[in-house]
Amino acid sequence: MGDTDPIVQLRNVSKSYHRGNLVVPVLNNITFEIANGEFLALMGPSGSGKSTLLNLIAGIDKVDSGSVEIGGIDITVMSETDLAHWRAANVGFIFQFYNLMPVLTAYENVELPLTLTGISRRQRREHVELALKVVNLSHRMDHYPGQLSGGEQQRVAIARAVVTDPTILVADEPTGDLDRQSAEEIMDLIDGLNRQLRKTIIMVTHDPRAAKKAHVIRHLDKGVLDDTHPQDTL
C-alpha cells in the first residue's frame, strides 16, 4: 500500500435505526475516502448522523449495507471478537465526555489498552510515560480522573488513544465539554498528533474553531455528505 492510497474507504454505506415500527434512515449511500495522514473534520446539524458515521469507521457499529475498508481490510464482515481485537490494535478513541475509568489513575487509564497486548510491564511503562509526556501530564499520573479538570481528563484520554500507536484516531466532539482555553489546548494537541506523529484523524465537531485545524471539512446533512474545504468556510 503506497502513501497515496486511502487509509479509510467507505463504499455505498447506508444505515438506519428502528424505533418500534418506524425506520429512521440516518446515512444514505455514502461513499468517500480519507487519505493516510489526513486530518478530517466532520460537521453538520445535530442528528445528521455524524456520530453514526464515525462509529461505523471505528468499528463500533454495523452498516446495513456497503463496505468500510480501513487499511485495506473490510471490517464489515468481521465477527464481534475479531472486531474487538482489530479496534484494540487500530483505532484510538477520544470522546466528548472523556470516558476514563474513574477507579483508575491517569497512569492506569493510559496503560489500560496496552494490557490487551502482549508487551512486557517495562515496555508498557515506557509507552505510558511517553504518552503522558506528549500530553504534558507526567506530573499528574497518579491522580484519579475525579482529581483532574475537564481539559486534563481529555488530555489523559488522548494519551490513552495514542499509546497503542493506532492506524486511525477518531474523536467525537473532543472539545464539546470544554471551555475555550482548554478547547484550544486540546486542539493544539490533536493538531500536533497529526503534524508530528502523522496520525490520520477523523473528528466530529460543532466548533468552527476546532474545525479550522483540520485539512478537510466535510458536512453531513440528512444523511448525505457534501465537501467543503477550510478556506471555503472562511
Binding site: 462509529n55 457499529d61 474487538a84 490494535a89 475509568m101 483508575l104
Partner: protein, 386 residues
C-alpha cells in the same frame, strides 16, 4: 487480567454504603440459614446417635399406654434377645415448669448396660445401684443446675402425683460427640413401690422395653417375633428399632421441621433477589464504562469477569462474616435453648452449605447484568441517555 481484578476490587468499594448494606444482608442471611440448619441437624442428631442393636417395644395403641412389667421376662426368652431393660417417662417438674428436661424411671443395671456409650465412674455406678432413691444425671444437665453428687433433687410429679425426692449418685458422660447429656434417670423400683401403696392399679407397668439384640442384622426378625408373641393379648406390642422409634418422636414435629426448611430456602431466595438487584443497579450505572472498555477492545469474557467478580467478592465477604458470626451466636443460642437441644453444634456440613449457597447466589445474581452488558451494542452504550 490482573488489571481487570484491580478494577473489580476498586469498583466493589465505590459505593461503600450500598456494598456495606448488601454485605450485611448476606451476612445476616448466612447467619439465619446456619442457625436454621443447625436446628434441623440437631433435631435429627438423636436419630444418628441411636444404636442399631437396640429395639424399643411399646404399647401398640400409642406411646401414652404402658405395658405390664411381666412382659420383660417373656421378651428375654425370645430367640436372638441378649437382655431386656425398660424405661418409663416420668415428666416431673423441677422447681418451675420452664425447667424442662427428660426424666425416665429405669432399671439402672440393665439400662446402663444397654447404653454403654455413656460412661459413669465405677464407684458412682455402685453408689447408684445401692441407693433405691439414687438418680443419675447427664453432665450437661448437672452443670445447668449446679448439681453435685449427693445433692437431693425434688421433682413434682405430673403423671405420677406427689413430691418425689432423689439423691444424685452419679453423673454420666457421653463418649460420643452427639451424645445427649441432658437426661435424668432413677430407679423404677422406687416409683413402683410407692405406686403400689398410693395407686395400685398403675403399679407394675412400664412405658417401653429396651430390647438389646445379639446381632443387629436379625433385629427385624426379633421385633416381629416379640410382637407376634403378644398378639391378641390384653396389651399388644409394637417393636421397632431405636432409630425408627426416635424418628417416630421426630415425625410428630415434622411439620415444624418442614416450615423451618421452607424458611431457610426463603432466606436464600430473598438474598438472591437483594444481590441481583445490587448487581443490576451497579451494571446499569457502569453501562458507559462497560461500553468504553468494549470500545478499547475488551471482550465479553473480561466484562463478565468484572461483573461476576464483583458479585462474588460481595457475597463471599458477607458469607465469611456470616460464618464467623454463626459460631458465637450458635453458642449463645445453645446456652439459652439448652433444654430443648441436647447439643447445639454447628456442623461442617452446614458451613459447606453456607459456602456453596453463597457462591451460587453470587453467580446467579450476576447472570442477567452480565448478559445485558455483553449483549449491549457498543455504540448504544456510549450514547448519553437523559
Amino acid at each position: 487480567m490482573i488489571h481487570i481484578l484491580k478494577i473489580l476490587f476498586r469498583n466493589t468499594f465505590r459505593h461503600k454504603l450500598r456494598t456495606g448494606l448488601t454485605v450485611l444482608g448476606i451476612c445476616i442471611a448466612v447467619l439465619a440459614f446456619g442457625l436454621l440448619r443447625t436446628v434441623i441437624t440437631t433435631w435429627y442428631m438423636g436419630v444418628e446417635a441411636s444404636s442399631a442393636n437396640r429395639l424399643w417395644t411399646r404399647n401398640a395403641i400409642s406411646l401414652m399406654f404402658s405395658l405390664p412389667i411381666a412382659y420383660q421376662e417373656k421378651i428375654r426368652q425370645v430367640e436372638g434377645v441378649k437382655f431386656v431393660s425398660h424405661a418409663s417417662w416420668f415428666g416431673g417438674i423441677y422447681i418451675d415448669e420452664k425447667n424442662f428436661f427428660a426424666q425416665f424411671a429405669v432399671e439402672p443395671a440393665t439400662y446402663m448396660e444397654a447404653y454403654s456409650e455413656y460412661y459413669i465412674p465405677p464407684e458412682q455406678k455402685a453408689a447408684l445401684l445401692r441407693d433405691r432413691k439414687g438418680a443419675v444425671a447427664g453432665r450437661k444437665l448437672a452443670a445447668r443446675y449446679g448439681w453435685k453428687i449427693g445433692d437431693v433433687i425434688t421433682l413434682k410429679g405430673t403423671i405420677y402425683p406427689g413430691t418425689w425426692e432423689f439423691v444424685l449418685r452419679a453423673i454420666s458422660r457421653g463418649t460420643r460427640r452427639d451424645a445427649d447429656e441432658t437426661v435424668f434417670s432413677f430407679h423404677w423400683d422406687y416409683l413402683n413401690e410407692t405406686l403400689k401403696k398410693t395407686a395400685p392399679a398403675r403399679a407394675d407397668q412400664v412405658g417401653a422395653f429396651i430390647v438389646v439384640v445379639k446381632n443387629p442384622d436379625t433385629a427385624a426378625d426379633v421385633a416381629s417375633r416379640i410382637d407376634k408373641m403378644f398378639k391378641n393379648s390384653l396389651a399388644e406390642t409394637l417393636t421397632e428399632t431405636e432409630k425408627a422409634f426416635v424418628l417416630g418422636f421426630i415425625s410428630m414435629s415434622q411439620a415444624i421441621i418442614t416450615v423451618i426448611q421452607l424458611v431457610s430456602f426463603a432466606v436464600i431466595a430473598i438474598i438472591l433477589a437483594v444481590v441481583a438487584n445490587t448487581m443490576s443497579m451497579t451494571a446499569r450505572e457502569r453501562r458507559s464504562e462497560h461500553a468504553t472498555l468494549k470500545t478499547l477492545g475488551f471482550g465479553g469474557f473480561r466484562i463478565a469477569t468484572l461483573i461476576f467478580g464483583e458479585s462474588l467478592v460481595i457475597t463471599m465477604a458477607g458469607c465469611a462474616l456470616g460464618i464467623a458470626l454463626t459460631f458465637p451466636v450458635a453458642q449463645v443460642f445453645g446456652k439459652v435453648m439448652g433444654q430443648y437441644f441436647p447439643s447445639f453444634n454447628v456442623t461442617g456440613e452446614t458451613i459447606w452449605l453456607d459456602f456453596i449457597t453463597s457462591i451460587l447466589v453470587g453467580l446467579l445474581a450476576a447472570v442477567i447484568p452480565t448478559w445485558q452488558a455483553i449483549r449491549m451494542p457498543v455504540a448504544e452504550g456510549l450514547r448519553r441517555i437523559g
